[in-house]
């Protein structure tokens, strides 16, 4: 199986957000970065598919600054075979620009992917768009937010959560899949994997992106929530809590 996985370098979910001096982006000083958590499910799924097939290649792609090489190394340490970084100064606000660059690279060398995997969204910009856009650009079928996946030959069955239920869909390979939490349990890179990753091929290609159709005007911290109150201690405080919810907050 020949599998591509597209990953993104993002600020850690425990990171506190400070706004940069330009008022438009994150102040990265002191912020820990790593692989987008949903992309870890995608990497893990690719490795398992290759292991099940007994042969094949898992290639990791990322678009971002030079520091994203570290993110690709994480995926290589998990077991991916090689990586390609499409290097830009910054990830564009317009996901379609990212999708076009990735699609062009995935087509390069003849393509021939059985599966192209993404996380269902990035936990920084929350856009959930690059995966399905790449599928459109490559003319491939796409299933998003997959929490369970079965593949039998050139046919796949996937389960995805929708409001109030689980949708079961069938699709032919090759296909683009975006991974949701629950798809698998990603492995931690072992020391041996981390050592091996240092010697795996990682190619860096500079890319020029278009201006895009989304312009960032500002990034700001949300208004603070007004300081609340401790109603009391133990079950004795409950009647007062209910009164406040009814009469003051008017939510009951």
């Amino acid at each position: 199986m020949k599998i591509a996985v597209c990953i993104k370098r993002v600020a850690d979910s425990e990171a506190r957000v400070k706004i940069a001096a330009d008022g438009k982006r994150l102040d990265e000083a002191g912020v820990k970065f790593g692989i987008n958590p949903y992309d870890e499910f995608a990497v893990e799924e690719a490795l398992r598919r290759k292991e099940t097939a007994g042969a094949g290649e898992v290639v990791v792609f990322s678009l971002g600054p030079a520091a994203a090489q570290e993110t690709i190394r994480t995926a290589l340490a998990m077991g991916a075979d090689r990586g390609i970084l499409l290097q830009t100064d910054a990830v564009p606000a317009d996901g379609f620009e990212t999708a076009k660059a990735l699609a062009a690279e995935l087509k390069d060398g003849g393509g021939g992917w059985d599966l192209i995997l993404f996380g269902k969204m990035a936990i920084d910009d929350y856009n959930h768009q690059v995966g399905p856009m790449v599928a459109e650009l490559l003319g491939l079928p796409c299933v998003t937010a997959v929490a369970h996946l079965e593949i039998d030959g050139a046919k796949g069955v996937a389960e995805r959560e929708i409001e109030g239920g689980i949708e079961v869909v069938e699709f032919p390979l090759p296909a683009v899949i975006t991974a949701d939490k629950g798809l698998n349990e990603p492995r931690y890179p072992a020391l041996k994997g981390i050592m091996a990753a240092k010697r795996k091929p990682l190619e860096t290609k500079p890319v020029q992106l278009g201006a895009g159709s989304v312009e960032i005007l500002s990034l700001a911290l949300p208004p603070d929530r007004k300081e609340g109150k401790i109603v009391g201690e133990g079950a004795a405080a409950v009647p007062e809590l209910v009164r406040l919810l009814r009469e003051e907050a008017k939510v009951l």
Binding site: S13, A15, R16, V17, L26, Y38, G95, F96, A99, M121, I123, D124, D125, Y126, N127, H128, Q129, P132, M133, E136, C142, A145, A147, I162, E163, G164, G165, V168, V169, E170, F171, P172, D180, K181, S213, V214, E215, I216, L217, S218, L219, A220, L221, P222, K226, G228, K229, I230, V231, E233, G234, A235, A237, V238, L241, V242, L245, A249, V251, L252
Partner: protein
């Protein structure tokens, strides 16, 4: 500005987000065409919507950021050759351009963007735009969807009767490690029942990772970001990634034995103490109200 509002229906009934989408679309322009896909195949539906937007000369295409909308909107945007502005929580028109506000970093920050795409393609976070009265009377035009998509829906397994998705619930009761073991979530489920079908039970990342609750129930940066009218956090200390996912709730109640837990910093009302005494008492009081 001519706007295409993409509605959703299930079993022939329009879903609540449809009224939210129409209401928000009217903020952008007086001329709103509400449409709904005749079939659920994502490929056919995306093709039909892109065609409709092009033929209709719409300046904006508005989706709800539901499971369906998140799947469709980027496909339609790609077909139209523009980016998607997803999960929008506020909208305005400024000098002819659409300016959208959207939470990023799971709500730790708010990004404001000007959408230059022609058309603008955007999706709205559910539960944020309050449907106006005029939207109640809409009858969306059903647009035909071509057959023969490669991705086909084989079946929809409904969630157990009476359970509500946390992304759509007006009231969420979430539990964390303080519940001590999976079986104890029963006390939260009983409270949810007392609210009479309006409440869903959510969970912190810690208990989802421990396998106590389903992934779909997780609230936080790597789960769902929610904005219910009432959020009750039970036995949740309030890790930054959890707070990010629920801080836009209208009213937050925290129940925790540790009076210094960070959750009390964002809560409107807090009760300190043993949740196994407090929650059953709350259930009893809510039952009285609804009795």
């Amino acid at each position: 500005m001519k706007v295409l509002a993409v509605c959703e229906q299930r079993d022939g009934t329009l879903r609540k987000v449809s009224f939210e989408v129409v209401t928000a679309a009217r903020r952008l322009g007086a001329e709103v065409d509400a449409v709904v896909c005749a079939a659920s195949g994502p490929e056919g539906c995306a093709a039909a919507l892109a065609e409709r937007a092009t033929a209709g000369g719409h300046r904006a295409v508005v989706f709800a950021a539901t499971a369906t909308g998140k799947d469709l909107a980027p496909r339609v945007a790609a077909k139209l050759g523009v980016g998607l502005t997803g999960d929008v929580t506020d909208l305005a028109v400024d000098g002819g351009a659409i300016v959208a506000t959207r939470p990023v970093y799971a709500g730790k920050a708010l990004q404001k963007v000007r959408i230059l795409g022609q058309p603008a393609v955007l999706s709205l976070r559910p539960n944020v735009f309050t449907p106006d009265e005029a939207s109640a009377g809409i009858t969306p035009e059903t647009i035909p969807v071509p057959d023969g998509g490669r991705v086909t829906v084989r079946e929809i397994k409904p969630a157990p009767a009476g359970t509500l998705d946390v992304a759509e619930a007006q009231i969420i009761i979430s539990g964390g490690r303080g519940l001590k073991e999976p079986a104890n979530f029963k006390v939260l489920e009983e409270l949810a029942l007392a609210f009479g079908g309006r409440a869903a039970v959510g969970a912190s990342r810690a208990v989802v990772d421990a396998g106590w609750r389903a992934h779909g129930d997780q609230v936080g940066q790597t789960g769902k970001t929610v904005s219910p009218g009432l959020y009750i956090a039970v036995g949740i200390s309030g890790a930054i990634q959890h707070l990010a996912g629920m801080r836009t709730s209208r009213i937050i109640v925290a129940i925790n034995k540790d009076k210094d837990a960070p959750i009390f910093k964002v809560a409107d009302y807090g009760v300190v103490g043993d949740l196994f005494e407090i929650v059953p008492k709350l259930t009893e009081e809510i039952r009285k109200l609804h009795g």
